[in-house]
Symmetry: D2
Subunit: 387 residues, 4 copies
Amino acid sequence: MVAKGKSDMTRRVFLGLAMLILCGGAAKSPLARNEIRFPDLPGYVTLKCDFHMHTVFSDGSVWPTVRVDEAWREGLDAIAISDHVEHHLHKADVVENLNRPQEIAAGRAVERNILLIRGGEITPATPPGHHNAIFLKDVNALVADDFYTQVDQAALQNAFIFWNHPGWQGAERGKWGEAQDRLLKEKKLHGVEVCNGAMYYVDAHRYALEHDLTIVGNTDMHDPSPYWDRTPEDHRTMTLVFAKDRSIEAIREALQAGRTLAWCGNLLVGKEPHLQAMFDACVEVSRVQAGGKAGVRAQVKNLSELDIELLRPGADLSDARKKRMATILLPAGMTTMVVLPVPAGKTGSVEIPFKAMNFLAGPDEPLMVNLAITVPAAAPATAPAAK
Amino acid sequence: MVAKGKSDMTRRVFLGLAMLILCGGAAKSPLARNEIRFPDLPGYVTLKCDFHMHTVFSDGSVWPTVRVDEAWREGLDAIAISDHVEHHLHKADVVENLNRPQEIAAGRAVERNILLIRGGEITPATPPGHHNAIFLKDVNALVADDFYTQVDQAALQNAFIFWNHPGWQGAERGKWGEAQDRLLKEKKLHGVEVCNGAMYYVDAHRYALEHDLTIVGNTDMHDPSPYWDRTPEDHRTMTLVFAKDRSIEAIREALQAGRTLAWCGNLLVGKEPHLQAMFDACVEVSRVQAGGKAGVRAQVKNLSELDIELLRPGADLSDARKKRMATILLPAGMTTMVVLPVPAGKTGSVEIPFKAMNFLAGPDEPLMVNLAITVPAAAPATAPAAK
Amino acid sequence: MVAKGKSDMTRRVFLGLAMLILCGGAAKSPLARNEIRFPDLPGYVTLKCDFHMHTVFSDGSVWPTVRVDEAWREGLDAIAISDHVEHHLHKADVVENLNRPQEIAAGRAVERNILLIRGGEITPATPPGHHNAIFLKDVNALVADDFYTQVDQAALQNAFIFWNHPGWQGAERGKWGEAQDRLLKEKKLHGVEVCNGAMYYVDAHRYALEHDLTIVGNTDMHDPSPYWDRTPEDHRTMTLVFAKDRSIEAIREALQAGRTLAWCGNLLVGKEPHLQAMFDACVEVSRVQAGGKAGVRAQVKNLSELDIELLRPGADLSDARKKRMATILLPAGMTTMVVLPVPAGKTGSVEIPFKAMNFLAGPDEPLMVNLAITVPAAAPATAPAAK
Amino acid sequence: MVAKGKSDMTRRVFLGLAMLILCGGAAKSPLARNEIRFPDLPGYVTLKCDFHMHTVFSDGSVWPTVRVDEAWREGLDAIAISDHVEHHLHKADVVENLNRPQEIAAGRAVERNILLIRGGEITPATPPGHHNAIFLKDVNALVADDFYTQVDQAALQNAFIFWNHPGWQGAERGKWGEAQDRLLKEKKLHGVEVCNGAMYYVDAHRYALEHDLTIVGNTDMHDPSPYWDRTPEDHRTMTLVFAKDRSIEAIREALQAGRTLAWCGNLLVGKEPHLQAMFDACVEVSRVQAGGKAGVRAQVKNLSELDIELLRPGADLSDARKKRMATILLPAGMTTMVVLPVPAGKTGSVEIPFKAMNFLAGPDEPLMVNLAITVPAAAPATAPAAK
């Protein structure tokens, strides 16, 4: 990287050893962590969590430590390994002990500063469908022939229990049924996986709102994590948990209180108050210019990982061109120059309503938001910036 | 993006209109700006500047507004358009008026919030080589047959004058010569382009230190900017200016005071105090764990755009394996798990010296830095993180 | 790149000068060309063409040579520069001469082996909308106050004339009207731009089929080309022309004969025979395995730049899961392992019908295709591959 | 993807289901295979092979089927799983049986059309260092206390035996020693791993040439494969085997005959005849233009995965600018416009010698190549391409 002698007057920038080891991009260093940009909410830290994944101890294809390595690299704060309680694909070769994944990965989790939660997946036929129990003390105790016995054992251990991927075997089989009624009544059903991998389950979102269940989104990974590109579309599905601090106990409290959002593809899915708080924390308007005939020019910064799409309510969407005119796009992490619809001549405080199309407060229900700006009086727009 | 009806139980995440318009990646939206991560220094804002580029008004191939659009998109704060004073390749088709580029681009610069500086490139034979004069009032006034007359005219307009790309026509022709001596003596040479495009001019770095010239790095773009990947290697070469505020006058003051660094490829090039301040602002150590036989494990966050390479001073580098053992790599923008060389058993405050291989304080002279940490007493490293 | 001495036993792979100059990826070298993978059709070469773009000689922002450089880099065979005949945004600074762009760029086109076609855009109000005339001899001769006079002049020069971007000012204003009727009747309307930039004009597709117009797709670029990522979604919109050889005259003949497809985003848009021939040239089935209960496993290679989506005709699409089960995806340029729906026990020749969802033969009309395979008799599927 | 009705005049290109499932790039579909572009050599197919990798059955972290999935996705033809014979990190949880990895993965290998070779790594202290034995029938038979006993058992099974990563524990410990002498004499050492992961072992290259050992390059992966970017720098290290057909027996024959190259980073490492044949198959010169003062312009296509760097022999390399002038760069898979050094006025057949800097025929020994061209007589270079 440094010169050999004075004769080397010009030199192309040298890559040096650093680039060699990082060959393939920094994101691929096994020791480097790509932090996820979602701001904290007032009073809470935003923890990035995945509560559903498998290892060779059921039907997954990786050793438990791999799940910790992936979590570090991909910017997670907490994971739950949740191997199937009744289904061990590799039992001819791997011991049957559902506590082993967490025991094996624990040391690595301490090193990597990942909060590691002990879990298991109760896997009966559908219906009633699969359910995850997390914060368990002894997963082996859940081995039983009867679904309700299994759930009771999980409840005895004070687990947080959620219904996994409703609808993955079709809408009909994934309908809310008597098992869900019973568990809910007995306070043994606490959440529902509205997003699983690349899937968003619309009906599950509705169930969460109707029955006040906590919304979670997880990967359900069986194979190695695919080194996501970390674009708004290509990332690990996860649950954003708004916790009082960064600890396993705080995650449990937040899950019980329902303070979560699921992040899946370019969507945030959840309940209205958390979506609203997150939107407010993510979007910053600055440098509002004086208005013109077309509206008011401003800079809008998007502090999130979503490409946010704002649509004017009531806009005519009868052709694509009109939809485009009524839409403001805010790419993830960037500052965008936008034109806001303010009547010519208007100055001072203005609130401009939009639908945030990828903040889903319910099925078919984008979040209603307001951009609040202060429009200055006109100044000559074409004055030279420099003399 | 939202459901059609209740029958649509499962749904893959929909991309929606947002992604269509952003097709090809958010960085390609002409209205979206990719901010450059270099922290401010104590007392100064870090402005990202490029003081050397061309348009169709000399031998470039773009209209002046393109230079503003590029600057916005690529996260710059300020640019100087600096067409050749004596060399107009397109004069059969484009008027000869060196003030036009800045006049044409001024309105767009106001809209995009780019500080637009009026400049020109004095382009005699080499030696004495090319020189940029920026903060001009009337570039046309520099048209003259004699190099010194041109420089005098620029000085009359109170321009900041720097020597461009020494060595681009070979080391011999780019040597410090009598013209540089004369300009320096007359206080008409204020800076030198140590980096130009992908080139780092080693001898120019030495001249800057020997003669106390301000270090600048610029693109010298003639063609459209190539939509950089924005990796540590593939970005726009630029000058980081440490200014009292975000204004053209503050940039002038900072250039005169020499408060700059050049960023070129994976290198920061400059003078020791600014490199030291930048390093301190970029590197954060956290979560130091108790030591073991191999050393102390810690998290190190790199807040810059460089992949920072730290090398133990005095390390045995006789083979690549040994060099790798002595090296710590901190990918840009990421948090890296590192093992720091602390003797087993040592606790409390420790300072660990390194050479920052891509912070160049001079030819062959990486910056000397210290990582200061506090090592806690040992705790059982393999304790389970969760119960 | 090579060793210093014998003591350097191990060595990390060195990047060498090559990577430095290619810094940012090979696709960014101004001299390197990224060939576009669409196979030739029987009897024809597939030429990649863009017949609509602007320069500083009307309202574009680049010098004409830039258009040739872009064409080379992006794998095109032919371009037409088509500045507005009546609209010169920069006339205060740039001469008014509509033949200049082609004259200026001609030398570069010879060097880069790009077929450069002289064109102009006739730009009246909408309706009747804008029309491109290409293969002109003197664009200046088209300057006139009356639209029909302009078209007549183009026809006199034996130009190929097509209607640009119908619908860009809304569906209503872009409707087929009396001007189109008149031009068609006079044989002065030969084609229609079904795709323009990222837009696919559905009604224009219908007009092309109803009136037997040649289908073209172009960029209509005004600004520098944005260094596309060259994914199926992020590429230059273009016309695939099936020509008898690689020459300007052969392009003219193929346009007159209507042998084209438009490639826009992940869509090929055109007429049924050309889509069918292209599909057959793009998709290769190999290594069909013996059937099982789920169907027959085979490898399918996609030789095109599209991510091809095949859908079983008549499939139940009432939820996303069912749609996914009925879909086969063939990523661009890759070989995909697929399971084809063949009844268990069936062997020998089988034809399996699909809808090629992104080969559009008309509005709402995906191309019907057949995959022809030969199913072998069963062999033990789990036999070890190695001894 | 298809229109809703006639009112939808304009429409942005729709991404459709295809893109959703392929979200994150086609290369991430677990069923899609990214073929590796290295041409076949006359008389041989070029098979892409990796003969060294681990699973949970020794100290790896993946289930054996993962190795087959990776091989399919990454374009390999053949792999050998080679778990450590004496070192089973997970034996508390996973059975001790070194034939299991191959047995478990065999069915998947048949499905995916991957040639799966049974192997094992003999892992004594260094020296003598680790050795891989492949084409084994029973890996368990190699369990023994003595290195030579182990090798004898491998030889009894007619294995191909190669020395792994000489020098990975330092140059001194990786020196050719008495064990290598003995094995060579007894014809039980057939190859040497010149490249392992990102490392190129210079001395190992020398040993291969001195003792006529077959050159191999492998990953030695323990963790999941990191979804390479598939750039010339970021790819899976592998052995190119020039085999008579695509079968395990043909691979064995080619290894015994020494017909291989190792591909590591942007380097091909091997013996002169195979490098020469590969270079000739990779580089195609076309469209040579008439010469000018600067030389002769031509198009050069690079059919390989390397960014090929050609350097004029005897060039003055005393500064970076001169080196750049003497260098021709051919990005992988692209066609590059180059200027070849031919004296002005010379026409007809010309051979131009170069050093192919990343085709290494020995330590410090780039391959000598000739570009053969035919220079046409001059034609007017600036004639317009179109009328």
